[in-house]
Every structure is written in structure tokens, then in C-alpha cells.
Symmetry: C2
Subunit: 401 residues, 2 copies
């Protein structure tokens, strides 16, 4: 045993020699450093660089209008070099889950000192969390000392799409406890264009939000189902038989067209969930929400299934009143059926500078004109994860009550 | 509906404006490009850089001896610039799962054109796969058109370690099929120093290897359990309440010492698995293997539990004969008990240039001296994932038979 321990000690000391086939990239700069005064310092060792910048969602974006749609573009801040180390310290940041990336002489560079990074669509960024006190947003998006639900990548058959497909399923803490026969309500949470079944797990912080809110007694323990919203693909890039392709905002671009849409095939997802988990069914126990394209999917799935979902959440949703006369008539009929079934909650949320703001306002006008009840939440900012985490947090607390 | 489609189309066209809070980093260089002749071309757009290099596990490492131990260090290759695009084309590469990273003016830079990347210990690298025909290593490590098992991140209680802990569990395709009451054998697969419960899922390609071998009828459908091997932590960095700390080869460095070791607490893992899954028990249905430190854990766990594991696999294992006299006597007694229980397979595998080669040879000498049967597999190369994937592939095919 002693020799084993010695060997492991030797391994620890000589890290760089053999960790992962001798491929090393990490740096020892302290970055990001969250300072006691609430500012954050980024550092990167790059003595040969001529310009190093940082861009992140803590920097107000540059605002612009394109064809009448609000389109924000990223802002960058120059870092300052001293002895080969480039540095930038932010103003005091509010509690939040933040992401950023460096640009070294124009090349996007993930922080070599920060192992925490996620992919969203085709972009990787580092992240960090600012939390000052229990219950603030940073705390809510962190893994805390509470009971944790399990997260599974599950394969289900979609006869409608003629594909075996992957989805992410959160089961609340205790679900698999021996002898537990409790049935749980189900919350379907859908991602946006270009995303996949990993999106809500990563930048959405869904497991952390649910763990923390359930532990605090603010959300009823529930199963959270995060399917893949690109109906001509099986799974996230790299996780299905299409190989290691380049992805984009259009998700399944380059693959044969889908056999049907997500709303039309949603029964396959629900069928799998209801036959493989201990679920409470009926509108009082079934909620659906999504962001952007996934908001559109939630909108259309609820329209196709009046009375099925008691709680419907449209987050920065691609959901609007059709302008085509025939389509509008069908839409009106479906909306009438949907609201005749009296959903307990029709929740619309959007940021003030979201490029879909006007489209969302048109939908609200339609609801007002028809006397269909809904809850509306407007936040600062645009079409961003910061808002979608807020909306999930709020919607989950309103569901199943 | 038409307007929704128009909006989604607009979203697709204006990708860069709002994907993930306008943080963009991706490039459009084709990289890596797998050429028809079997070579691979890497590209990165970096017009301001003075030197760009690539390092990867397709490049033979620089070999060195440190204190009598073989310690390979990464080799780098200079890329060549033309019109601001740096490029390097490899020789013809054999089918394999490869990883690499760029160095731009000395700064480790993940390929901005390749979204496929994993973390191992504290290092992120990009990866790509070369496959020429069905059944080669590249194919075996790919997601193919076969039935897929589920992968779950599961939380279990370890009373011995006084922690709630996370592990990865693979259940074979069909496990959750309605009405399936089949019980399955269990393969425990342990990671190395600095790794965590994600390691075998990522660079280990465990799900792909198992999916493909089970589909080919070469491995008996089984449950694969990949626990976390750092006994003073709960989970991979960022996945438990310790926050977003800097990790290292010593895994849980900086946290209070563990209440016990992994071998001493292994019963908690097995107890959870046996009470939460449909498992076949007994040595004919129970296998354990691991790499490096996890090989040491497999070695010691089997010594503490003679007769429990019918299949024991030591991959580049930190497993050796103690030099201390009293410890050696205890070790001999335990080995005697272990082999008296006649394990069906005691498998030792190591690379010719592994820094643990001599230690492993000492263990083999001990087995030979005592007439304890084992299978031995020696491969080229050192303490690397390429070897561990080979060993898992072989060991899994020998288990439960």
C-alpha cells in the first residue's frame, strides 16, 4: 500500500508529464478572481500578444436595429498587460451566472485558467458565478448543499419522426429511493434554435434551479423533461450517428428534412415519459415551457393539444399571431379551444430589448382583444440566457399549484 | 404559423447577433478537415499571430526519464501561415479517437472551428475521430446507428464517506423498455488520479464502446457504473457544493481529508447499485476495472472483498507489491484469499513506455511466483487514454463469460 501511495504522490507531482496524453494547456494565472469588493479580475498569460480583449455578458452589448429588429452585438473591453499578464477588473457585478471569452490578437480564446466552460449552439464560453447571499440569483444557479435530483440522457423512439432520439430527464431527489411509489408532475422545458437537449442543463442551470427551489419548498417536486427540438436530428451534435459535424443556429441543417415538427411529434415524447416514469397526468400535473424556438414549440404544442397542459410558458418566444387570413382563422379556432379548456397559467415573458418584442406584443394584444387570461413578465435585456433562467425560476414556482 | 417560420428563418440568418448573449467565438475555417487520403488538416485564422503550433496525441511525445520513471512530455509542431490562416496537415493517421490543442503565440487555444472538446483533469482539448471501416477503433469509439444505452448522473449516499456522491451509470439499450424484467451483470469502471465520474464518459468513450460491442453481440448487455474516485469530494468539479474551484491531478486537494478510501467505501456504491437497478449478483456477474489510480482502487477493492468480483481489470494500474515487510505479509494473505476464490479473470494491461511499467512487472512477478493465474496485455505507448480504451474494449469482451 505504501508504494501505491508513493506512486500516486509521484503522479500528483508530475502532473504535466502524462495527464491526458501529455496535452497540456492550463495556466496558473488566477482567473477569474472574484474579489471581496464584488468586482472580478480576469487574467491571461500572453507575453507575445499585442492585444487581448475580454467579451462577456456582464458588459452591456452594442445595440443596433436591423430591418426593424433589435440586434445586439457583443462589446469587448481591452485588457492591460503587465509583465506578460493581461488583466481586466470589472465594476462591481450583481449576483448572476456570467459567461465570457478572451480575444487574443483577435482569436477567440477560452480562459486557460478556468476549466468551467459550456457550449451553446456553436460557441464555447467560460463561466463564473457571483453570489453574495443565500437566495440571490448566483446562489440559485449554484450547486448547493441540498438533495440533488438525477440527470439522465435517455433514448426514446419517435415513430412520428422515424428516429430514435435523445433527451435529458431530471428526476427529483428521492425519486429512486427504495420503496418510493410517489407519482410526480411533469414539466417539459424546450430549448431555442440551434440548441439541443444539453442547453437547459448547461446555460439554463435547470438542475440547480430545480434542486434549490424544491429544497426551499418553492417548487413541487417534479420530473423535468428537456427534449431535443431539432426534429430531423436524433441528439446533440456528436451524440448521434451523424458524426462530428459543424453545428449552427439552424440545428439540423444539412440533414434530410424532418418527417414532422416538434409540436406534431410531441406525443412521442409524452408517451415515453408517461410509460417510463411515475407521472401524474392531466392538465393540473402537466406543464410546458420553452425559450425562443422552444417557446414557439410550446405555443404550437399547446394549440394542438387543448386541455393537455395546465401551465404554458412562452419565454422570448417565437410565437405570434399569423398574418395570413386562412392561417389566422385556424389560429383563432385553436386559441378558442385552448382557452375554453381553461389553462391554469398562460405565461408570457420577454426582455425589453428582445428582437421578438413586437411579435410578442402582437400576441398579447390578441389575448387582450379576446379576453384570454395570461400573466405577463417583462425584464430588462434581450434574447439572453439571463432572462430565460429568470423565467424558468418564476414559471416553475407557479406550476402545479 | 407562417410568421413563426419567418421569424425562425430570420433567427437563423442573423445568428451572430444574439446566440448566447452575443458572445461569439466560433470561426469558419474548416478544422479539423479529415482528408480523403487519411491525413488531417488543422486551420486557425490568426492573422496577427507570430507563431502558431499544434500539439496532439497523434504526435509522438518527447521521451524522458525522471528519477528512473518514464515521463513523456508533449511535442508541438509549427503551423504555417498563408493569408492569415495557419495550417498543418498530418501524415496519414490510423483509425483512432484523437485529441489536440493549438498554441497561439504560446497561449493554449482550443480550435475555434471545432465544437468538440472535453476536459480531462484540468485540461481541455479538442478531439476528432478517424475511422476507415466498420469495426476499426475509430468506428468503435463513434456513436453509430445501433441501439443506445442511457447515461445518468446519479446521486447516492455514502455513509462510510459521510457524503452524498455522484456517479455515472450506463444502462444498456432496452433496460427501461416496458415490461423488461431482465437482470443484468454489473461492470464497475474507475477513473485515474485527478479524474472524476465524467472521465470514462468523455475520453474513455465508455458509452460508445459498450453500445457498439453489445450491438455486435461481443459484450453481454450490462450495467456500467462509473463512480467518483476522490473520496473527499462529492462529484466532478462544478457539480457539487464546493463551487467552481481549480482542480488538479490530486482531485480533492484543498478539501478536508476523506473519512475512508474508495476501496473501504466501495460497499456503499455496490449497495446503491444493487438496490436501485435490476442486477445479477455474485462473482460471475460482477466485474471491476480501472485505470491508473482507479486500477489501484480496483486492485485494493478486490483484495478487501475476495470472492466478490469474478473479473478484475488493472489498466496501467497504480498497483504493486508492498516493500514494507508487515504490509507485504498482509498483502500475501489477502492475495491468497483472493485467488482461493478463483476469480474467472485477473487482467493486467499496461503500455511499454508507461511510467508504472516496472511496478506492474513486479506485481506480475509476484503472481508468477505464487502460481496465481492472470492474463497480461502489453501495448505500445504510455499512460494514455488510447491504451485505456483498448483495455476497456478487451476487458468488457472477456467479462461475464
Amino acid at each position: 500500500m505504501k508504494r501505491v501511495i508513493t506512486l500516486i504522490a509521484a503522479m500528483t507531482l508530475t502532473v504535466s508529464a502524462f495527464a491526458q496524453q501529455s496535452l497540456m494547456g492550463g495556466q496558473t494565472a488566477k482567473s477569474p478572481e472574484i474579489n471581496p469588493d464584488g468586482t472580478v479580475t480576469f487574467r491571461i498569460i500572453a507575453p507575445k500578444a499585442r492585444q487581448v480583449q475580454v467579451t462577456g455578458d456582464f458588459i452591456p452589448p452594442i445595440q443596433a436595429n436591423t430591418n426593424g429588429m433589435r440586434m445586439d452585438t457583443p462589446a469587448t473591453i481591452d485588457m492591460v498587460e503587465k509583465n506578460g499578464v493581461w488583466e481586466y477588473t470589472t465594476p462591481v457585478l450583481e449576483p448572476e451566472f456570467y459567461s465570457y471569452v478572451f480575444k487574443v490578437d483577435g482569436v477567440a480564446t477560452l480562459d486557460p485558467s478556468n476549466i468551467y466552460q459550456y457550449r451553446d449552439v456553436a460557441t464555447w464560453t467560460n463561466f463564473f458565478i457571483i453570489s453574495r447571499e443565500k437566495g440571490d440569483k448566483g446562489d440559485l444557479y449554484s450547486v448547493n448543499k441540498v438533495a440533488h435530483g438525477d440527470m439522465a440522457k435517455v433514448w426514446y423512439d419517435s415513430p412520428t419522426l422515424e428516429l430514435s432520439r435523445r433527451m435529458t430527464v431530471y428526476t427529483p431527489a428521492g425519486y429512486y429511493d427504495k420503496g418510493n411509489k410517489t407519482k410526480y408532475p411533469v414539466l417539459y422545458v424546450l430549448h431555442g434554435a440551434g440548441g439541443d437537449e444539453d442547453a437547459w442543463q448547461n446555460y439554463g442551470r435547470a438542475a440547480m434551479i430545480l434542486d434549490n427551489l424544491i429544497a426551499a419548498g418553492k417548487v413541487k417536486p417534479c420530473i423535468v423533461v428537456m427534449p431535443n427540438g431539432n426534429p430531423n436530428t436524433s441528439a446533440a451534435p456528436g451524440e448521434w450517428s451523424a458524426g462530428l459535424y459543424a453545428t449552427s443556429m439552424s440545428g439540423g441543417a444539412g440533414f434530410p428534412p424532418a418527417k414532422a415538427g416538434i409540436p406534431e411529434s410531441f406525443g412521442d415524447i409524452m408517451g415515453y415519459v408517461e410509460s417510463h416514469y411515475r407521472v401524474l397526468t392531466g392538465p393540473a400535473n402537466t406543464a410546458i415551457c420553452g425559450l425562443s424556438m422552444g417557446g414557439g414549440h410550446s405555443f404550437n404544442t399547446s394549440l394542438l393539444n387543448p386541455g393537455k397542459f395546465g401551465y404554458i410558458g412562452l419565454f422570448s418566444a417565437a410565437a405570434s399571431v399569423p398574418s395570413d387570413v386562412a392561417q389566422k382563422a385556424q389560429f383563432e379556432t385553436r386559441m378558442k379551444a385552448l382557452f375554453a379548456a381553461k389553462p391554469k397559467l398562460y405565461y408570457i415573458a420577454i426582455g425589453k430589448t428582445d428582437f421578438l418584442y413586437q411579435s410578442s406584443a402582437g400576441l398579447r394584444q390578441f389575448l387582450d382583444d379576446n379576453g384570454y387570461p395570461y400573466e405577463y413578465r417583462e425584464t430588462d435585456g434581450g434574447h439572453i440566457w439571463r432572462n430565460w433562467r429568470i423565467y424558468l425560476t418564476e414559471f416553475a414556482q407557479k406550476a402545479f399549484k
